[in-house]
């Protein structure tokens, strides 16, 4: 008997809950030799801003214990070139595509959402609110419930597609932010973005990243991510997408049991570029072997 692996995020039905995380999967094409992109739940592309950004000076990445720090600095081609150069290729790959957007101001977010709304072949918008609000002295949108709600409203109004708000874990109480964006009209919440970290090269006496600080990702942060997914899924009614250190099928199941409707694979794509496709197959087999009829049975089934 066939297992139903599909899950729903708002009106959007995904073939399965396995997505790839923004910034870790390029624009998809790099992974063509290793993954059938059309078999994934969705791919999330690298964050897009209104204008092209060169990103930070090198070094941009450094390994840490079971993790890595990155300070890419949101390098991207800008929304116009993304639409004209990248989208046609992505459409040809047959993947469900989520476009991750980032801005320095509410107007940035509004314009990005509006521009992308006219573009064919986009399944959903994911809003990165870990970015600093330049008008508010650089405080990240994602650390203030009122600011997070405003961004959500602005994007939800400008977009006819599902709007996923991606939360920063660098906050005291993640449920406060989650409730704020739910109230402001988010279709779903994805979490976590990276934890802020740092490393120093003791030989040179300089930070290992030119940017001084960077984002910590990978298996090291999984326990923190799982805890936040559990807290948020227990708090809001909209779907939650789990992200953070997911590397194995067991990790996928843990996040779904904690309340995630879908998951995103990030750093693990660097370790094994075929992992996302393998997890799709593995999840189907697991559901079958464990006598479940649908992936949705896993969501939030942790016994407390």
């Amino acid at each position: 008997m066939a297992v139903d692996t599909s899950v729903k995020i708002g009106e959007w039905q995904l073939a399965n809950p396995i997505m790839t995380a923004s910034g870790t999967f390029g624009y998809g094409e790099e992974f063509r030799p290793f993954v059938d992109l059309s078999a994934l739940g969705a791919i999330v592309v690298k964050g897009i801003s209104l204008n092209p950004r060169p990103g930070n000076p090198p070094p941009r990445v450094v390994e840490t214990a079971s993790g890595m720090l990155n300070a890419i600095g949101l390098q991207n081609v800008g929304v116009d070139r993304f639409i004209s150069e990248k989208m046609p290729m992505i459409r040809r790959l047959g993947a469900q595509v989520v476009v991750n957007i980032l801005g320095d101001s509410l107007e940035d977010y509004q314009q990005l959402a509006a521009k992308l709304d006219h573009v064919e072949g986009i399944a959903a918008i994911e809003v990165n609110i870990s970015c600093p609000n330049v008008k508010k002295g650089g405080v990240a949108y994602g650390t203030d419930p009122a600011m997070a709600a405003r961004v959500t409203e602005v994007v939800a109004r400008a977009s006819s597609r599902p709007v996923i708000i991606k939360l920063s874990p660098n906050v005291t109480d993640i449920t406060v932010i989650a409730r704020a964006v739910e109230g402001a009209g988010a279709t779903a919440i994805s979490l976590i973005n990276t934890l802020i970290g740092m490393a120093i090269d003791i030989r040179s006496g300089q930070p290992k990243l030119a940017n001084i600080m960077g984002g910590l990702s990978g298996p090291a942060i999984k326990p923190v991510a799982l805890r936040m997914v559990y807290q948020v899924a227990s708090t809001v009614k909209i779907p939650v997408i789990g992200i953070g250190g997911i590397t194995t099928l067991e990790d996928v199941i843990e996040f779904m049991m904690a309340g995630a409707t879908a998951v995103q694979i990030g750093t693990a794509n660097f370790v094994n570029p075929a992992i996302s496709g393998e997890l799709v197959t593995g999840l189907g087999r697991y559901l079958q072997d464990s006598g479940r009829k649908a992936a949705t049975e896993l969501i939030g089934c942790v016994k407390i």
Binding site: F31, P54, R60, N70, I72, N272, P273
Partner: protein, 266 residues
């Protein structure tokens, strides 16, 4: 720029040999037919160093030292825990490789091809020399190698089999007492096409000499890499002269690791 991703593989190779060949330096032969068949000189592989462990987490980039008859050879220095773990692998062990990656050396026709290597930088040059000799047997090939001392001149026998080799050591224990850059100035007279890999100061010296003489010069760069395949945007090198635009940076794993020296350094 831009390379075809169609010829990239995730392949589980089998270690055929793994032995110490110099101070802190090992040479590993791996049966890996798909990657070997597709490999071009100057390309690299991302090697998985940990089994059943998330530390070290990321794959390690290593140049293709040789690719012949289904067998891929790597030459690597033990500098940290990843390469130390590699050095413990034994004949028969499995090792996951991703590759071949990046844009390698461009072998155009030239009256005189000159390879200039320093330290571990000789790793990709053996494959390059072998291919130049195979593809362009009638063109002249000279190899200049440098190292701190005699026993740090790696793969010397292999190089000597394919072309005349000139040596330079910092301590004078073999060949010229001095830098491989000095060797380049002294030994190569007529116009030559330069291919270089080694420590950055050495390559900058080589590139500047080549620029003075208006010789073409390709350099092979290293940076920290997370993915090796263009997905993370982590492996940037800054290009002087391009400010505040996207062109300010190149990505070593996709745009390189081999670049025309003029693309990178002015």
């Amino acid at each position: 720029m831009g390379i075809s991703v169609e010829l990239q593989y995730l392949e589980t190779g089998q270690v055929l040999e793994n032995a110490l060949v110099g101070p802190d330096t090992c040479r590993m032969e791996i049966r890996s037919p798909k990657i070997t068949a597709a490999a071009q000189p100057g390309q690299f592989v991302m090697v998985s160093v940990a089994h059943d462990s998330t530390d070290p987490l990321l794959r390690r980039p290593l140049s293709i030292h040789l690719a012949d008859n289904g067998v891929l050879t790597l030459l690597y220095r033990m500098v940290g825990k990843g390469t130390r773990l590699m050095s413990q692998m034994k004949k028969g062990d499995e090792i996951s490789l991703l590759g071949p990656l990046g844009r390698g050396f461009q072998i155009h026709d030239a009256a005189h091809h000159c390879l200039v290597g320093g330290g571990l930088g000789v790793a990709p040059l053996l494959f390059l020399g072998t291919e130049i000799k195979r593809r362009r047997p009638e063109e002249r090939l000279t190899i200049l190698l440098g190292g701190r001392s005699r026993n740090e001149l790696l793969a010397l026998d292999d190089f000597q089999k394919i072309a005349p080799v000139h040596l330079a050591t910092d301590d004078g224990s073999s060949g010229l007492h001095g830098l491989v850059t000095d060797l380049l100035g002294q030994e190569i007279e007529g116009p030559a096409t330069i291919y270089t890999c080694g420590p950055t100061p050495m390559m900058k010296g080589v590139a500047s000499l080549a620029r003075q003489r208006t010789w073409p010069c390709q350099v092979s760069l290293e940076t920290m890499m997370a993915c090796g395949m263009g997905a993370c945007l982590g492996c940037t090198v800054q290009r002087p002269g391009f400010d505040e635009t996207e062109k300010k940076y190149v990505h070593v794993c996709k745009d390189g690791p081999v670049f025309e020296a003029a693309e990178i350094w002015r």
